[in-house]
């Protein structure tokens, strides 16, 4: 068996298992099972990104799909459960006789969309490279060697600025729902305590490493930020009382550091160069590193704050 046949079988197996997981996750009525299937789906997606030659996306999917999404959804599920039944209440209340199990109109339109997409993908000429040659030709002027980082932080820096603001607005949306619910802290086992103490420095180190290596290898600000966010979630789950800190000024400065750094740099380049976010090629590398550092801190703090699930307590409120 030659290698391309083997890798094709691998990919087909992967794709089919993804489909199976997705179908089961949607078809089941037990919410716990659906959440777990979704987590497994995220883990397999990271493998798919690896096979599709997109290691930067795989890094982000590993950090977010393996850790943060799982923790977020399980935590949300715990709050949904009534304390008496202890089981997730499925909200499937339609009459099974009147409601067919397949909705025909959405199904037909989805099949049409799928056919259209498949047709356009299969009629791509194999020599079609998209924007790759343009990116690679300008890579030396961008200040970094990783084309993904160059596109995210330099060529399309404006999009990344907007993404930072979107993340911030998402946090504001969660905050608008109300105050931090007080979670009754269950007993923290010494094993969990020690684990959090041992793992958190490693988290921070790996995040810094991914941030640094993003200049010339897969990595970057979003991936490092998600790792920091996962570290924050681990600390919160292990009973560290971070709630008091979330109302402090330092915390809010960290939240805004990323978007503000982008906006400040955009303003400066607009004033000096006349073009939004046009870096002088000599300093481009340094500027990208500074931007990425602030972005990492912001993303990490934002993700951990999202896990808290509410507006930070004011300082005067007594801790329950």
């Amino acid at each position: 068996m030659e290698i391309s046949l083997l890798s094709t079988i691998f990919d087909v197996l992967l794709g089919l298992s993804l489909l199976g997981l997705a179908w089961s996750a949607l078809a089941t009525t037990d919410l716990f099972k659906a959440v777990l299937l979704f987590i497994a789906f995220g883990l397999l997606m990271a493998l798919v990104w690896v096979r599709l030659n997109a290691p930067d996306v795989a890094l982000a999917e590993a950090a977010i799909g393996a850790g943060i999404t799982g923790a977020l959804m399980l935590s949300a599920l715990a709050r949904l459960n009534s304390p008496h039944t202890g089981r997730a209440i499925a909200s499937h209340t339609t009459d099974p006789e009147k409601d067919p199990s397949i909705q025909w109109w959405p199904f037909i339109s989805l099949v049409l969309v799928f056919i259209g997409l498949a047709y356009s993908v299969f009629t791509f000429s194999p020599a079609f490279m998209g924007l790759q040659p343009d990116v690679y030709s300008q890579l030396v002027n961008s200040g970094v060697e990783n084309p993904v980082t160059a596109v995210l932080l330099n060529f399309r820096g404006y999009d990344t600025l907007l993404e930072m603001l979107v993340l911030f607005v998402a946090l504001l949306g969660v905050w608008s729902l109300g105050e931090n619910p007080a979670v009754k802290t269950p007993f923290i086992s010494p094993v969990l305590d020690t684990l959090s103490r041992l793992l958190t420095p490693v988290f921070i180190l790996v995040a810094a490493y991914i941030l640094w290596v993003g200049a010339h290898a897969p990595g970057g600000a979003f991936q490092a930020g998600s790792i920091l966010g996962a570290a924050g979630i681990l600390l919160l789950l292990s009973g560290w009382q971070l709630r008091k800190d979330t109302s402090s000024l330092f915390f809010r400065v960290l939240l805004l550091a990323g978007p503000l750094a982008f906006v400040a740099l955009a303003a400066i380049t607009l004033l000096i160069q006349g073009q939004l976010l046009e870096y002088p090629p000599a300093q481009a590398g340094l500027l990208i590193l500074i931007l990425e550092t602030f972005a990492t801190l912001s993303i990490g703090v934002t993700l951990a704050a999202l896990f808290l699930g509410g507006f930070p307590w004011s300082k005067n409120r007594a801790l329950k």
């Binding site: 030659e2 691998f10 299937l37």
Partner: protein, 92 residues
């Protein structure tokens, strides 16, 4: 050698798919979490084998992130989401 790595990676993927059965069945929620842990550990091995097969050492960073985050989901379950009484849910 490259083919050998791919073959073992595919074998591990098959064991992974077999483990999916436990997520579907597992009478209690804790069994499903165990299956998620299986997914994590086996994915680390698959990614390392793929990294060696395609001679792309950057993929080892992905395995590192997987290994790092393996515990977070399970800890979220144990600390927050595990119901105090396990109802006997054999109906799936």
């Amino acid at each position: 050698m490259q083919m050998f790595y791919f073959a073992v990676a595919m074998f591990l993927l098959l064991t992974l798919i077999a483990g999916m059965w436990r997520i579907m069945r597992g009478p209690s929620t804790a069994d499903r979490i165990l299956a998620a842990q299986l997914f994590s550990t086996t994915s680390v091995a698959i990614i390392l084998l793929l990294a060696q097969a395609s001679d792309n050492s950057a993929l080892q960073d992905i395995a590192l992130v997987f290994a790092l985050l393996a515990a977070v989901t399970a800890i979220a379950f144990v600390q927050r989401a595990w119901p105090a009484e396990e109802a006997d849910n054999d109906n799936h």
